[in-house]
Symmetry: C2
């Protein structure tokens, strides 16, 4: 444990500016000055990141922490922040959850992931990290083998998404693709079709088929394609998918949360293959 | 609009202490000094409460609000709070969402609700208002006709549950029952059986049956019985239900959020009846 009491200590740079979500996401993007790292907070998330093989750079803990830390690699740099440091990082003088900085792993190649997957999740414009985290937590547990996020979706390894997923983002490989609206042969939807995936678009549209009626061959590869809460999938993407499926709503309710809808879709796809 | 600038104004009493969740819930419980009211916040929630026939007592809005209000009954008392009042109520000098106080409707009789329902949700120990809200939002949309909350579950009309449900709690009637662990003839589980409900307990236990295998007669009445995130249903309740069902987990994930699990169960029950 290395005590740090000066907020200007360069070892703290990576933990600064965490609360400016826009700026932080920009800095962690490819080309940004923090593109080589991602942040994981809390004992469970840190333990899961390590278990998944992620390389720890450093951890910031409250110098007054009495609780033990998750088991860390022997070489890990553990910074014990004093009140001034914690105030600068977290906006308060205590830090309940340790904040860890990990080395960002190399990007996956989407085709590589698809060749090994049977059920994949594809997101268009899911740019709310909380929703991304909710979706990823369910995806892993409900049998999704890989995730493709389009250019307009947020980073699955962004701090808030990692936290909300409770570290389950590490249980499932993901890759970035270009705009899902690129319907050319080099676009993501064409790639999915070429590799034998049935592209299932999830939509609240009442003209879509009932998800509950879905029936699939036992070995059918499937891509569940979802858009953001609110706007949903773009018209082009909806039209280009093989099937448009909806969760039938009752009692005049117009929609459910996108994370819940995604979870139901993953469950239904697993069931439809019986 | 009545300007109010003194936090001690008695018309504000009902809006005070909103941030002390424990105390507030105690005060709104039967026998408490606020048992006759419930709070709904935000334009959507207020509009849905009014649409469902709830009686508005008063609304507190930011005196500087420029946006229009949802359509309110002509007699409604609209209090326009100044900075000092808003600070006392909300802990900040602005109020984005109006806060409305409604008259709490008389309790429903559980048997009355069950006689008119085909699919009901029964909760044991769901005492986290956020989880309750998430569950209620899905329940209404996914075909649940009524909700029974046991003595250890939180109030569906508690502010935070109402808010998280986005007001969908008003789309579905609920009633309070005693402890679900009361397995006597007068207990909730016996009542459900007497009225022809198949009691389906949701559990992460790996010895439970796969929810995806559920098949039901088209007219089968069902009660989906769920416990709190973490502890789940008590052993007695699990054993007393007719079926124990689980959502099969993949990738080493141990569980999903209780709201998501409930949503999948509601969907699966609807589907199993085909």
């Amino acid at each position: 444990m290395i005590p740090v009491d000066d907020p200007a200590d360069p070892r703290l740079d990576v933990f600064m500016g965490l609360r400016d979500h826009q700026l932080r996401q920009a800095r962690e993007r490819p080309g940004g000055d923090m593109a080589g790292s991602f942040i994981g907070e809390g004992d469970v998330v840190i333990a899961r990141a390590l278990a998944a093989g992620h390389q720890l750079e450093s951890v910031l803990v409250d110098a007054n922490r009495t609780k033990g830390l998750p088991e860390l690699p022997a070489h890990a740099t553990v910074l014990a922040g004093g009140a001034k440091v914690l105030q600068a990082v977290a906006g308060r003088k205590e830090l309940r959850d340790p904040i860890a900085c990990f080395i960002r792993p190399p990007s996956n190649d989407p085709v590589d992931l698809l060749r090994r997957a049977k059920t994949v999740l594809v997101t268009e414009g899911v740019n709310n990290p909380t929703n991304m985290g909710v979706i990823l937590r369910c995806a892993a547990g409900l049998g999704v083998d890989a995730v493709l996020v389009d250019a307009s979706s947020c980073d699955p390894l962004y701090r808030r998404a990692v936290r909300v997923s409770m570290g389950e983002v590490f249980a499932i490989p993901h890759a970035r693709i270009g705009s899902l609206g690129d319907l050319s042969e080099s676009g993501g939807l064409a790639m999915l079709a070429q590799l034998g995936f049935l592209r299932l678009a999830l939509t609240p549209s009442t003209t879509a088929d009932d998800l509950g009626d879905l029936q699939l061959d036992r070995d059918q590869k499937c891509a569940v394609v979802i858009g953001a809460e609110g706007p949903g999938l773009s018209d082009d993407v909806l039209a280009a998918c093989d099937r448009r499926l909806r969760i039938v709503m009752h009692a005049g309710v117009d929609s459910i949360n996108v994370g819940t809808a995604a979870a139901i879709a993953f469950f239904a796809v697993g069931n439809a293959r019986r």
